[in-house]
């Protein structure tokens, strides 16, 4: 229902039929500029490209420990495993590479994208499982293990490439974008926190020893090896745990809301380099 209304609003905006309601229009470009300005003004000493390093961009003590861990990062195992999986054909002889542009190498920065055929946001994790299913293989769990290994490898081959998320001129794409924005700013859970409460207003602040990562570029390092988890986790896992942390019941991984918020955040990160896989406390 909400989606329908948003589509209508978007349709009106695209048609230019609603010029007076400026506050309610969807303008990703203006959002993008405001979002980036907010963070670069809040953290004037952090070079723009360093935002993809999350908490390490703003705390020297943490950065030193991180650099020590990056000397030989625990996600290396996941990258190697992902590479091996990528090179192993399915039972039908096809491979993951057959499902992606450029055989899946160096394409992470283009995800998620809005698929105009199906009218929905396609994330990398979703594309990987759809690839499996299209080739007669059962899907993987979205949160860790195999999915983290596959995305770790794909991110690794895309390091340094700049986020290039497009919003096609399609009211449904704009609606998905706005739904993601709405999800990002809506308070939820018994603690009444939104994603933005922690990663916009409180970005850079300490919770115990952890430093809250700024929302700008926050997905660039995914998937991540978290010391707290003692294992790899995907973007799906990060959203699910964020919800639990504010005492909200998480949605199913790859729920439309999660995909839309990934779309929104990735669009906000346009022009920033992929740095994944990453290591985080």
């Amino acid at each position: 229902m909400l989606r329908v209304i948003a589509v209508l609003i978007a349709a009106l905006w695209v048609a230019g039929a609603c010029p007076a309601a400026a506050a309610d229009t969807i303008n990703p470009d203006a959002d993008f500029k405001a979002f980036r300005d907010y963070f670069t003004k809040k953290f004037p000493k952090v070079p723009l490209n360093d935002f993809v390093n999350g908490p390490y961009s703003m705390d020297a003590g943490l950065r030193k420990q991180w650099e020590a861990i990056e000397d030989f990062p625990p996600y290396d195992f996941a990258v190697d495993r992902g590479k091996e999986m990528f090179g192993t054909p399915f039972k039908n002889g096809k491979t993951y590479g057959d499902c992606f542009a450029n055989k899946g190498i160096g394409v992470r920065q283009n995800y998620p994208y809005f698929d105009e055929k199906s009218g929905e946001v396609i994330t990398l994790e979703l594309a990987l499982n759809r690839c499996r299913e299209a080739n007669g293989e059962p899907p993987f769990s979205y949160v860790k293990d195999e999915m983290a290994s596959l995305t770790a490898y794909m991110a690794f081959t895309s390091r340094g490439k700049l986020f290039d998320i497009k919003i096609p001129n399609d009211p449904r794409a704009l609606a998905a974008y706005q739904n993601g924005e709405k999800y990002f700013y809506s308070r939820r859970g018994q603690l009444n926190f939104s994603c933005a409460s922690c990663h916009v207003q409180s970005a850079g602040q300490h919770i115990r020893t952890e430093v809250l990562a700024p929302a700008l570029g926050i997905l660039a390092a995914m998937p991540i090896y978290r010391s707290e988890w003692g294992s790899m986790g995907t973007i799906s896992r990060r959203f699910v745990t964020c919800n639990s942390q504010v005492r909200g019941v998480p949605l199913e991984p790859q729920d439309e809301n999660y995909r839309d918020v990934e779309y929104y955040l990735s669009y906000m990160a346009n022009g920033l380099p992929i740095s994944g896989p990453g290591a985080r406390p």
Partner: protein, 166 residues
Amino acid sequence: MPLKITTNSRHDRTRRLLLKSALGGLVAALALPWLPKWARAADGALWPKDAFTQKTEAGAIKALYGKEATASDQVKLDAPEIAENGAVVPIAVSSALPNVTSISILVSENPFPLAASYKLPPGTTAMVANRLKMAKTSKVVALVESDGKIFSATKEVKVTVGGCGG
């Protein structure tokens, strides 16, 4: 021999397991002499169980070296002031002292303070970097064995997210 070799029933059990797994371990190596040398190098019997199960820092040092340590500015201990997560704390130790034969690291407040001990044959540099778990804020003690004497350096590392899970 800088480290005491302890024998006990658990290590005997380890030996039996090693025999079964036919990889690694002295007994397995003797039984299967055609295994490449590297496959039998690590030997669980070398592990100084007594030192690793001491509950105090002093007890662990005594069990490991049989003597006390002297503080020295020749021992360099590189550890963070605040650990980002007690589950993974990068710690490095180095020394310019001569003839260093072993380096050990203790975390005083851990249930078992001795975390790791390294044996350095002649020719190996007196430097080691590793990652340890810390249950809570604690003194970290680096020990360097040089010419048979034990020298130490100490640093406090703050931990607010403990490395014991839960």
